[in-house]
Subunit: 449 residues, 2 copies
């Protein structure tokens, strides 16, 4: 290593050290920064100057008495310049948000849309439109979006940006990174990982937890001492494919009896509808006429009563059979989460005991899979997010009881089961937060550009 | 922080930096160390002097031409002074070993003994005798044992050294750390974690893997980029209690259908015996007369044919029933692993199709639980250790096939299933290795004593 290279590396390290020290407090003086970092005051002043010039930190105007009588100007992270874009493609919605370097959420947009019907290139184009609108708005507000992260519901090769398989989107080996067109770098990552990071940075504030993203698929993100656990290839946390019953119903992943087949959104809605013995009149208008939000239904057969199942169901209409609680996975009959889950919630609030029992069966399966997860990864708490958040008052207790039954004797303490406060935006927030983390970890990369 | 404290902290950091740099190569000159660490040659020389004085590094006597014409003396980690003690209590054996700072295994002892019958204090006393013998021998060889780690088959509170529950030993809330009497610090840790570290440091050399310790219980240790993943409380890796079938046989942990009930050593031996329809004549002499190695049998009823089951088995003797393949957990009828598994191996080698089928059923269950584990923690490889190592030629294929069936569609690559080369000594080696790691990470702590 040459002296010049060494100097650059040291400067980069020290910039990160100082920026991190600023970020660790509400505001701080240069003298305090020197004390915190062990750097000389001259070095700190030079570095702070560079960070101010780059728009990463700002003088607050407040003056604090120095320890040795000399007052110092307070500095804090600037929320006025650098910002990050968070994006999410999920099965039945798109989400984008802009977060500034001070971790304030500045803009957010969510669009309900059934992405199972569209080729990836079209989904990404629609997402691009949504993102461009918020980026333009951010720029009008004086922000500079320096990078983005895109959340997708499936394992992602972090190096290539290829989504190997997102079975619930019907995506296989999609080179997603190459489809993205932004004037700044955008990486792709697994939705469940990012939702866990969203929970860490914008949610409960717990440092150790397993966050469960209940959507069509069920992902989980494990945070240990404030850091995401990714596994060897970034594919960790596929809770939806943890085995509940080894000879159970076949799953799109190729396995059998996976948790998703018992407690995924489709399985849960199918079971709840069957339990409620739906008559067409009992289905709210939005649920029988999904054309406004579902491109599949719009281009398919017009729904009459309940839409037909695509798979070989000789009984014709699920709406009239009402008895089966076999998990199903036909996309056309299902509605965006906001509507399907809203219907389940309305039945639960009305005290429908059969729908409640169906939800509790799903919650029991979730508890079984989580007991395996707790045995394997030992989280300090379990945070239920996605569709499990609104359902929590009806399912939380069953999940916790199942865990207690299966873990209580072996462990000193069974992890508490708590509800996420972020809901469907968790992943997009975590995505933007990850860009912010990257800037904080290596501000020199940004200052050099 | 005062200047003196800062100096001590910096010296400690630099000592670790230099020792780590020495350990990273076969041998190295002071000039090369200065280049590797960024420290001045004067500082390096001073630190190397301290490390030599403390017996941590040694001059090899070899001289290498310097880059700028001045020859330098080669230095390497010294294997002649500092050493570590590894200890293991498992259900049916005790193991101890001494490893020197150069990671050479200097001494090892294993004792077959059924620890399920004895109170913890007696087990620890016996382990202490075994350990004292090897420590004395190490001292005679000029070694100084600076610390130890004890492996136990159950979750351990790393702070207090309390074993909350080792169900297969019958231990509950045992304050193990307080029972240990050694003239150096000895920590307690989970056996499966340490076996994984043993595999990392003394085995395959893979940096990313899930190591499975098949014993009476089934633990797993996850190594990611050369580091052990412990979870929030150090209880991660309880693979034996991952659910194979949620309504399966009850497990000692309080759950049902745990992997241990299908593929743990007791379950596997019971199933293999049942499958073989054992006649007394078919049981090898060692297996029907375990008195020489098993204190339980020695103090209990003298075995005749097959030992009686302790639980309420109205059929009297399992040797004559031969039909049940329900998992069992009566200690008396079971033999130390070396013998029970040896018998299974002999049947497999003789081509006993029924015993082979029983082992394959256990391997299928192991594959099911591992498919959940791969989905959750995403290891790069799976290493089968403990009793699965000798059984590997008969079970490895079924484990790999089950993983492929359940994971193949979802993942780009299914982790390969390989066999551990360490066997029953893995945990004790990992325990000693952990002490070595600690010395390497903080040599100043040792030099100050």
């Amino acid at each position: 290593m040459t002296q010049a290279l060494r100097h650059d590396a040291m400067r980069a390290r020290n910039l990160a050290l100082v920026l991190g020290a600023v970020g660790a407090r509400e505001s701080v003086t240069r003298a305090a920064l020197a004390e915190m970092t062990g750097l000389t005051k001259t070095t700190v002043s030079k570095l702070v100057g560079d960070l101010i010039e780059g728009g990463l930190v700002v003088e607050t105007g407040a003056v604090r008495d120095g320890e040795r009588g000399r007052p110092g100007v307070e500095i804090r992270i600037s929320g006025q310049h650098v910002a990050a874009l968070g994006l999410e493609v999920n099965v039945d919605y798109l989400a984008v948000c802009v977060v500034d370097l001070a971790r304030t959420v500045r803009l957010r947009r969510t669009q309900a849309v059934d992405n199972r019907a569209a080729p990836p290139v079209d989904v990404i184009a629609r997402l691009g439109d949504l993102a461009s609108a918020v980026v333009d708005e951010a720029v009008e507000n004086g922000l500079r979006v320096v990078g983005g992260v895109l959340a997708v519901p499936g394992p992602v090769d972090m190096t290539s940006g290829v989504v190997h398989n997102a079975p619930n989107l019907g995506w296989r080996d999609v080179p997603l990174a190459s489809l993205l067109r932004f004037p700044f770098p955008v990486r792709v990552e697994n939705e469940a990982n990012l939702a866990a990071l969203g929970e860490l940075w914008f949610g409960s504030g717990l440092p150790d937890f397993l966050h469960v993203s209940g959507e069509i698929g069920i992902g989980a993100g494990l945070v240990v001492r404030g850091r995401l656990f990714r596994g060897a290839h970034g594919f960790a946390g596929e809770l939806g494919h943890v085995v509940v019953s080894p000879d159970g119903p076949p799953c799109r992943c190729g396995g059998r009896g996976c948790l998703e087949q018992y407690a995924g959104q489709d399985a849960l809605l199918t079971a709840a509808r069957a339990a409620a013995s739906i008559r067409p009149a009992a289905v709210p208008p939005a649920a029988v006429s999904p054309a406004a939000v579902s491109p599949v239904a719009a281009h398919g057969n017009p729904p009459a009563g309940m839409p037909r199942r695509r798979d070989a169901d000789t009984s014709g209409e699920t709406g009239t059979s009402g008895k089966t609680d076999e998990p199903s996975s036909s996309p056309e009959m299902l509605l965006p989460a906001q509507q399907g889950v809203a219907w389940v919630l309305s039945r639960l609030k009305e005290g429908d005991a059969d729908v409640r029992a169906a939800c509790e069966r799903a919650a029991w399966a979730l508890g079984v899979a989580l007991s395996s997860a707790v045995n394997l990864v030992d989280p300090d708490a379990i945070v239920l997010g996605g569709i499990y958040a609104p359902l929590f008052p009806w399912i939380g207790h069953m999940v916790a009881d199942t865990l207690k039954d299966r873990l209580g004797q072996m462990r000193g303490a069974v992890p508490p089961v708590v509800v996420s406060r972020l809901g469907a935006e968790a992943a997009a927030l975590g995505a933007a937060g990850q860009v912010i983390e990257q800037v904080m970890a290596d501000p020199a990369a940004l200052l050099h550009t």
